[in-house]
């Protein structure tokens, strides 16, 4: 009996905590349903008499939101694909082979996380300008895939470390080359980690603003964060539109996270240290 009461207690605590956690997210939805002028209100209600979906109509019908969305999907898709391919192969090399420079590579991957990203912008720009990649998705994709890579490689390496080497040895005995053993046997087993890697690569590109702002100049090419930011003017932000945009931008990532949350728990192996 006491156990039941305890469970009930913990359960209600968690429900309350979850609601509190969700409040800011709901708050954006609330703002998106208000008019610009009702932005400052003392009401805590998310839905008021004045609420409407007007901002959403404006967003989709009167702005280039759909184009931005299409662009963002395109960029994120390619980045995700590249990220997964590169992280899965190099993570594998780092997990399975004891080659010269392996330790150096692993440490420098961690080191890359330590340098303030702001200061990388200027050199990025100079590099892209030299390569004539300004205002092209290629430049953006290279930067996005590479910046997400160090973490993803660590992540993949951590996961491979948990897979017994006998598995690909068995495959090689069965007639696979090293590469086909990797593709046919190891990759399918690593799907939880691949999903996580994909998710992180996707996130890295989906909501990135700063780099996109220096690389993309043609409004036709804008990605969602850039478009969203254009609703924000220093002295006259269209808050309703902005919030509606923010909600729509957040939906795909949130859905992805929710649907993949079970992989998150099993596949996130930043920490998995091989004993």
């Amino acid at each position: 009996m006491s156990k039941k009461i305890e469970t009930l207690f913990i359960f209600s605590f968690l429900v309350l905590f979850t609601l509190a956690t969700l409040y800011p997210a709901l708050n954006i939805i609330g703002i998106s349903l208000r008019t610009d002028d009702a932005f400052q209100t003392r009401s805590l209600a998310l839905w008021t008499a004045e609420s409407s979906f007007r901002s959403y109509f404006t967003l989709f019908l009167e702005t280039d939101f759909l184009t931005w969305m299409k662009n963002s999907f395109l960029v994120s898709f390619v980045v995700t694909l590249t990220g997964v391919v590169l992280a899965s192969t190099s993570g594998y090399a780092l997990s399975r082979f004891n080659f010269m420079g392996r330790r150096a590579v692993l440490s420098s991957l961690l080191m890359t996380q330590m340098f303030p990203a702001t200061m990388l912008l200027l050199p990025f720009f100079i590099l892209l300008a030299k390569l004539k990649l300004i205002n092209s998705y290629l430049g953006l994709i290279i930067i996005y895939s590479s910046t997400a890579l160090p973490f993803c490689i660590w992540q993949m390496k951590g996961y491979y470390d948990t897979i017994p080497a006998a598995l690909e040895e068995a495959a090689r005995m069965d007639g696979c080359s090293r590469f086909s053993a990797f593709i046919k046997v190891i990759l399918p087993v690593s799907s939880p980690a691949l999903v996580i890697t994909a998710l992180f690569s996707f996130m890295a590109s989906w909501s990135e603003y700063v780099v996109a702002a220096i690389v993309l100049q043609d409004p036709e090419l804008y990605t969602l964060p850039l478009g969203l930011k254009s609703f924000q003017a220093s002295l006259a932000t269209q808050w309703g539109l902005y919030a509606a945009g923010a909600v729509v931008v957040s939906i795909p990532v949130t859905i992805l996270f929710i649907s993949l949350s079970r992989f998150l728990v099993s596949g996130l192996t930043v920490g998995s240290v091989k004993g």
Partner: protein
């Protein structure tokens, strides 16, 4: 630039494109601050748009950096003569920009439904303000304000310095902040808020704007750009800022122009097209279009004398207000003055400094900052030495490689497969991280700054020395440590706690887990801005909830240093705990149930189980996550920058990385910022290595 203005610009550009087949005008929109930093980067990379449209105060920095062209040789003198003088922006005896309108100045706007006639002087303004600041429904909360404006920003403040007699900047561009007028103006604004209580305690631009638009403020101090927005919502009148009663002088708003400059990289055929386009965009025809559509005060003399302009009563009144103003200075030093003034002014408002000290301090800081901004360290012996050293280093690397090439080659052949698998990722990371890192290393040893934008040289360790000898660095470092430690502690403890709770057999366990991950899923900048809104003193949900359920008086989250820093931390805790929770959940799954059963048989309590089984078992997964979390938190600029609006109040909420951003992009001190980045990098490397050693984790690598 307002949305409507952007549309109007597109319209005139379309028209131009129609009459000039083969020419395509690409409009790139950037927010003022980003316009500046992005154009700087672009120009340094040798590209960027041909024409730059923006406020006149960016002319100074751009001209000094040499990234825009002087216009004197490109246009005939007659061209410049057709504009009113404040639209032709000159700096150091050259013309750099031509404006397509004049204005951007502050004025008093009043809601005609509430105020019948605008106040003539400040006494009257206070009187009207008091009578109109009301609690309509007697709930102890004010529902209507007499006056609102974005009073914490220097731009919205300096007109009052003029009203008290003196001006904040001398003609030679040096600051003039240690004045009685500045002190009086400080005290005046403070008294409006604290003594007369006719303005809200915290009021940023958005709040002021929204209050006025919804009829919850009688008067607002705002610029001509807002007319279009108010036109359909409020029946408003405009007037000059009311005369300061004690001096009998009118406040002097800054009048500027927004106009066009030409990128220094524009050449040959493109240049002639650009000149033609610029001529068109500043022509009376276009200006009249703007006037009709957006009520912009034209800069073209021809347009000004057009009957439509003459007949426009708003513009007529406006012209009178403009006369009371003073031109916006274009010297690059202005930024340093703004910066020094903003900090001290916000300290006065927060009540941490008295007006006199603040005036003295702001003058000193402004002079200091101008000095550092303009400082050009000439490369001396040390510079040559470092250059030599760099060269030797690269040569040594080459030689070592040459000597050991056999070993490298053998290793390569043995593990060809591994190297090939690694290669693409290596190239990507190399170009995107290693190259910029090397670039920064060199910049950190150079005198790269505003005045040496295009011809910087290696000077040595000066920046490192100046970072390490500056007391400010240590206080920033201290704050960064507090920021990191508090955040990571909360992330981990909250994450582990929730994970342990969720891991029990609970109804709807999966749903709870999924919902708790959402803060992680939301894009950071959206979350940060939302939280900023929630921290608003009067309208933010946090204070509303605290008041409603806990009966607490509102906390000034964003204008007091400690509160503002806490606000940033709270936001970041919210953003970061799900990651740790997920990692901890993963760790918990690997604990066999038997261990708990065994300890239960041994009579261990829940708490003992947690300490003796759960924690040690999840430690191996948590430690790398903690290391990563620490690094990420240490370097997380988004939250601090967005929640505190770039370090407000008074630059007291900066952590190291946000200060790097400020130094590089606001103060143009690239070399210094790069050195600071290198130091951050070293600090984090040392932390990681020692932490890994201590937890015996270097075996992982």
């Amino acid at each position: 630039m307002l949305y409507e203005n952007r549309k109007a610009l597109r319209e005139v550009c379309d028209k131009y494109e129609d009459s000039h087949p083969g020419i395509n005008i690409n409009l790139i929109y950037r927010e003022t601050e980003e316009l500046r930093s992005n154009f700087q980067s672009a120009a340094l990379g040798g590209s960027g748009p041909e024409l730059i449209y923006g406020p006149s105060d960016q002319v100074g920095p751009f001209a000094v950096m040499g990234i825009i062209k002087p216009l004197d040789d490109l246009f005939p003198p007659s061209f410049f003569n057709q504009f009113s003088s404040n639209a032709v922006v000159q700096f150091q005896d050259k013309t750099w920009m031509v404006g397509d309108g004049v204005g951007n100045h502050l004025m008093l706007m009043y809601n005609k439904d509430i105020v019948s006639s605008p106040p003539e002087n400040t006494d009257e303004m206070i009187k009207i303000g008091k009578s109109l600041t009301k609690d309509l429904d007697d709930d102890g909360i004010i529902d209507q304000y007499g006056l609102v404006w974005n009073f914490t920003e220097p731009f919205f403040y300096v007109p009052w310095i003029g009203g008290f007699g003196e001006w904040f900047i001398n003609d030679d561009g040096s600051p003039n902040l240690n004045t009685k007028s500045n002190e009086n103006a400080f005290a005046f604004i403070k008294s409006l808020r604290d003594e007369h209580r006719i303005i809200p305690k915290e009021c940023d631009y958005e709040t002021a704007n929204a209050l006025f638009k919804t009829g919850r403020a009688a008067m607002i101090i705002n610029g001509d750009w807002s007319w279009g927005d108010y036109r359909d919502k409020v029946d408003f009148g405009i007037a000059a800022l009311p005369m300061v009663s004690s001096t009998g002088v009118f406040p002097t708003p800054l009048v500027s122009t927004k106009g066009y400059s030409i990128n220094v990289h524009t050449t040959s055929e493109k240049l002639s097209h650009t000149i033609d386009l610029m001529t068109y965009l500043t022509s009376p025809e276009v200006q009249l279009h703007y006037m009709r559509r957006l009520n912009v005060q034209p800069s073209s003399l021809a347009a000004l004398s057009h009957p439509d302009v003459q007949a426009n009563s708003l513009l007529k009144q406006n012209a009178a207000i403009i006369k009371k103003g003073r031109p916006m200075p274009v010297v690059p030093e202005l930024r340093a003055i703004w910066d020094a003034l903003r900090g001290e002014y916000q300290s006065v408002l927060a009540g941490t400094k008295d007006p006199h000290t603040a005036a003295v301090e702001s003058q000193r800081k402004a002079i200091d900052q101008i000095k550092t901004m303009n400082l050009v360290i000439e490369p001396g012996v040390q510079g040559k030495f470092i250059k030599g050293l760099l060269f030797l280093f690269i040569a040594a690397l080459g030689i070592i490689f040459w000597i050991k090439k056999k070993i490298y080659l053998r290793s390569f052949q043995e593990n060809k497969f591994a190297y090939l698998m690694l290669l693409p990722a290596f190239l990507g990371i190399m170009s995107v991280i290693i190259f910029p890192f090397g670039y920064n290393l060199i910049i950190s040893l150079s005198n790269f700054s505003l005045r040496t934008f295009k011809d910087w040289e290696i000077i040595g360790f000066h920046h490192f020395a100046s970072v390490l000898t500056d007391g400010g660095f240590y206080s920033l470092f201290g704050k960064t440590i507090i920021w990191t430690v508090v955040n990571v502690c909360f992330h981990v403890s909250l994450g582990v706690f929730l994970a342990v709770m969720i891991n029990r057999t609970l109804p709807a366990k999966r749903t709870l887990r999924t919902l708790l991950i959402i803060p992680w899923a939301l894009p950071q900048y959206i979350a940060a801005l939302t939280w900023r809104g929630m921290f608003n003193q009067e309208y933010g949900s946090i204070n509303l909830i605290l008041n409603k359920f806990f009966n607490m008086s509102p906390i000034q989250w964003l204008s007091q240093p400690v509160e503002a820093f806490s606000a940033c931390i709270i936001t970041n805790i919210w953003l970061g705990f799900p990651f740790m929770m997920v990692v901890a959940l993963g760790g918990l799954q690997s604990i066999p149930k038997e261990m708990y059963e065994a300890s239960q048989v041994d009579g261990a309590s829940r708490w003992q189980q947690f300490w003796n089984i759960t924690l040690p078992m999840i430690k191996p997964v948590m430690i790398p996550a903690v290391i990563l979390g620490t690094i990420w938190t240490f370097n997380n600029i988004n939250v601090v920058w967005l929640v505190s609006n770039g370090g407000e109040p008074s630059d007291l909420t900066h952590i190291l990385v946000s200060y790097v951003y400020k130094a590089a992009f606001n103060l143009y001190r690239y070399g210094y910022a790069a050195a600071l980045s290198m130091i951050i990098f070293l600090i984090l490397s040392m932390f990681t290595v020692s932490f890994m050693r201590r937890s015996k984790l270097d075996a992982v690598v």
